[in-house]
């Protein structure tokens, strides 16, 4: 009998496998796979090992790539390590295949780039270098495993905060890097870092980067969050601590009950494999805090501020273009002003243009990307007077050079032709409030007036519609068509099948002959009767046996009838009829009407027989 315990264990295994498969497939499907290479250290001495990690982000089902041999290094595969994180609902997963690298000689070794093909896709990594020296590096690193075992939770899971600089000007971009370090822990539901932003711009982190990093001799899984902030007012500020909320998943063994022990009387029979699955996984929410950092935000210098300065801080280039430069009055000229470079693009505003008299100007269209901001402005010459697109000036403060810089371009010469029509110029672009809007007319509603004369009268009984008549009108042509079809088919058959045509003629000749003979019996003229009988025999047998009717005699038909296996009794009857005809025609014998009737009957029997036998 299967114990309750075994059922629970099986269910746990099944659930775990299903979850693993699902998460693997899900992870593989939702994101693009990235292939990265890492070394836990870049300098080792002869006899020491380094760990090489080949990480595939976005999947957990990638097999270990074959990286071949590298002269001077002994590389051994250690095994895979998987990681799955959920950050603000976004699932990311990775698998890292670990290799131990043992140098056999001194030198600088290049590992990678590695290329790997799996399921039709090619994956390529970058490269890393390993410096192998005769002596150990000066910095003595404690043995890895013993230390690792001494690590407590704070050492295995922590957050660091790093600022690109500790002094900055107002509006100057300051890179912020928050790193979550994880060492051999299952961490899930990781939230984005948060910290106080008073005096700073809104903090919006980009998608985190995941990699491995050697930190104090321990290889950590690292999740790196990056963003840029800028100070909005001067002063000494404290940034941080950055806080990250997440769940640590820990394994907790289920306490065995006395009932379980009762079922398993021999404790040594316990299955350690199933005991692992019996373990329950629990999530423990934790909030991790980084250190805080001091940041001094200075105001922009008050001296030497250009007139055209509007707050832009960074290091920029300014490009100024106008197109077309030869236009008709009222036609638009597109002026493009691009600001490229690095810095806080939030502070980059539309560069100032000098005197724009003579132009109608519409609001500029703005396009912003990571390293540029483009302003597209439409200028319309209202007369033929403007000869140039005015000069544009862009000023910014360069925090590295700590000075204001002004770039000016233009003016750009243009040619404006007078239009043929001196009337008002064309209206393009957004409508102005002055534009006259057609007023919507408010119409009343009522019914349309009565009809003045009656239309065609119809009966109110059955709407004047005669279904029965309609039915007949449908049936009749159908029957006519069917009849016509049968006729056409018969005609075609007669034309195509000569045997069929002969058969039809034979039957026709027989019927005609019988009608004539019946008529002539009453005339009691035996000679005429037998003349007709002879003709009827000739016509019928000639058509039936496909031979010329005029040449038909008993002798000519006898052979044909014998060849067609016609009954001898019928042949005899045919012979008798031919003989009777000959006697009446040539011997002038007077034959009574009784005999004539018998002979007619004989003729009919012959026809019936031959038709039935289809000779």
């Amino acid at each position: 009998m299967i114990s309750k315990n075994v059922i629970y264990k099986s269910a746990a295994i099944f659930a775990l496998i299903t979850l693993t498969l699902f998460s693997s497939v899900f992870a593989a499907n939702v994101s693009e796979v990235k292939f990265e290479i890492s070394l836990d250290r870049d300098k080792v001495a002869i006899g020491e090992t380094a760990q090489l990690g080949l990480t595939f982000h976005g999947t957990q089902s990638m097999p270990a790539p074959d990286i071949g041999n590298i002269d001077g290094l002994e590389i051994r595969y250690l095994g895979p390590s998987t990681m799955m994180t959920v950050i603000n609902g976004q699932v990311s997963s990775s698998v890292t295949h670990m290799y131990s690298v043992l140098p056999l000689k001194i030198g600088k070794f290049q590992l990678g780039p590695f290329s790997f093909k799996y399921k039709g896709s090619n994956y390529s990594s970058s490269m890393v270098f390993l410096d192998v020296s005769a002596e150990r590096p000066v910095k003595k690193e404690p043995a890895e495993e013993p230390i690792n075992e001494q690590l407590n939770l704070d050492d295995r899971l922590f957050v660091t905060l790093d600022l690109g600089k500790n002094t900055a000007f107002i509006n100057e971009l300051i890179p912020v890097k928050v790193k979550l370090y994880v060492y051999r822990l299952n961490v899930s539901d990781i939230q984005l870092p948060v910290f106080s932003q008073e005096g700073f711009s809104k903090i919006e982190f980009k998608e985190p980067k995941q990699y491995k990093e050697n930190f104090n001799g321990v290889l950590f899984d690292v999740l790196e969050f990056k963003t840029d902030i800028f100070g909005t007012r001067p002063g000494d500020f404290t940034i941080g601590p950055a806080r990250i909320k997440c769940n640590v998943v820990v394994k907790k063994k289920v306490r065995r009950t006395s009932m379980d022990d009762l079922f398993e009387q021999d404790p040594s029979a316990r299955d350690s494999f199933f005991d692992d699955f019996l373990a329950r996984y629990e999530k423990h929410p934790v909030e991790l805090k980084s250190q805080d950092l001091k940041l001094d935000i200075s105001p922009l210098p008050s001296e030497g501020v250009p007139e055209s300065f509007m707050g832009a801080v960074g290091d920029y280039q300014f490009i100024y273009k106008a197109s077309p430069v030869k236009v008709k009055m009222g036609d638009p000229i597109n002026v493009t002003m691009s600001v490229n470079g690095t810095g806080n693009f939030n502070t980059v505003l539309l560069p100032k243009m000098d005197n724009t008299d003579g132009f109608r100007i519409y609001e500029a269209e703005v396009k912003t990307s990571d390293n540029s901001k483009e302003f597209n402005q439409v200028l319309i010459p209202e007369s033929a007077d403007p000869k140039e697109v005015p000069k544009a000036v862009f000023s910014y403060f360069d925090p590295n050079k700590k000075q204001y810089i002004t770039i000016s371009h233009g003016p750009i010469p243009i040619e404006v032709e007078k239009g043929k029509d001196e009337g008002p110029s064309r209206m393009i672009g957004p409508t102005t409030p002055e534009q006259k809007v057609e007023e919507k007319e408010d119409l009343a509603r009522d019914i349309v007036y009565i009809k003045e004369s009656p239309s065609k009268w119809v009966s109110t009984s059955g709407n004047g519609y005669k279904l029965k008549i309609l039915f007949i009108l449908y049936i009749v042509p159908a029957f006519l068509l069917l009849a016509y079809y049968l006729i056409v088919r018969r005609v075609r058959k007669i034309k195509a099948d000569s045997a069929y045509a002969f058969r039809l003629n034979a039957m026709k000749a027989a019927k005609e002959g019988v009608r004539t003979l019946r008529r002539e019996i009453n005339s009691k003229n035996s000679k005429v009767f037998y003349e007709s009988l002879f003709k009827a025999l000739q016509n019928y047998l000639g058509n039936r046996l496909h031979m010329p009717s005029a040449g038909v005699t008993f002798d000519t038909v006898n052979e044909a009838l014998l060849a067609k296996d016609v009954d001898l009794d019928i042949i005899r009857k045919i012979k008798n009829l031919f003989n009777a005809c000959d006697q009446a025609r040539f011997a002038f014998m007077d034959i009574d009407s009784l005999r004539m009737r018998d002979d007619l009957k004989e003729f009919e029997d012959i026809v019936r027989f031959l038709e039935r036998k289809k000779v």
């Binding site: 349309v448 239309s455 709407n463 009108l473």
Partner: protein, 256 residues
């Protein structure tokens, strides 16, 4: 063969004779014009009575129904107005004045509580394609197309080469015939087999049983369209568009 031709000729003659017979019935045109004169004097009730004389003579036309609908509209009887507009629409579905008045009358009685369920796409396509034609026009065009098909088949039987050359023409005629015939069948079912009723009273109670004191099931509003299943004594069994069946006083509902 001669007998068949004779039969056809007799049928055609009977059609034309019946048509002439209708024309010669008590002069409905006179009632029509008199009704119009009364309408112009805004004596709508008398106008309706005069128009009705033509109906009592057993004849009608779309303009007569339209004018009666207008007179009822002016009298404020929107249910009756919709009823007569619907009757006119069956005879003259393409009349824009009629469509305008019907839409306006329906808009005044408010939105119907339930819309008729939409048909499947093929039926909808056929209905859309044939909605501008009366049932009579559909029937006659169907007959004409049928004759053309029969003649084409006879030609193709005689000259098989022609069949090969005119395959597309035949397919086109056949397709139009099928659409026409389907439209005719749908219209025939909707107009002549199914009885459509219009609520002509301001409000009508629909009950579970054809008894005065029966439980009230739901209420119908003036101008609502229902399907009349049967009539029993002074009650009509009706089916609302949402499928709910009940009994309504027959005076409250007129069949289109």
């Amino acid at each position: 063969m001669k007998r068949i031709f004779a039969l056809i000729i007799m049928l055609v003659l009977s059609l034309s004779v019946s048509s002439h017979a209708e024309d010669k019935q008590a002069d409905p045109s006179q009632s029509f014009y008199t009704g119009n004169a009364l309408y112009e004097k805004r004596d709508y009730e008398k106008a309706v009575n005069e128009y009705s004389k033509a109906l009592n003579a057993g004849v009608a036309n779309s303009n007569l129904y339209y004018n009666i609908g207008n007179a009822y509209f002016k009298m404020g009887k929107l249910g009756y107005a919709i009823l007569f507009y619907e009757r006119a629409k069956r005879l003259s579905p393409q009349d824009p004045d009629l469509e305008s008045n019907l839409t306006y009358a329906k808009s005044l009685v408010g939105n119907p509580a339930f819309q008729l369920p939409s048909a499947n796409p093929a039926v909808s396509f056929v209905k859309r394609s044939t909605e501008d034609f009366s049932i009579k026009a559909l029937g006659l065009s169907m007959l004409l197309l049928y004759f053309i098909i029969v003649i084409l088949l006879a030609i193709f039987l005689t000259y098989p080469v022609a069949a090969k050359k005119n395959r597309l023409l035949f397919a086109a005629v056949l397709l139009v015939f099928i659409i026409d015939a389907t439209g005719f069948a749908i219209r025939y079912y909707d107009e002549l087999i199914i009885k459509t009723g219009i609520v002509v009273q301001k409000s009508a109670e629909c009950k579970y049983e054809p008894i005065d004191k029966s439980t009230l099931f739901y209420r119908l509003q003036e101008g609502d369209e229902v399907r009349v299943i049967k009539t029993r004594n002074s009650w009509r069994q009706i089916k609302r568009a949402d499928g709910k069946i009940g009994w309504v006083d027959s005076a409250a509902i007129e069949i289109v």
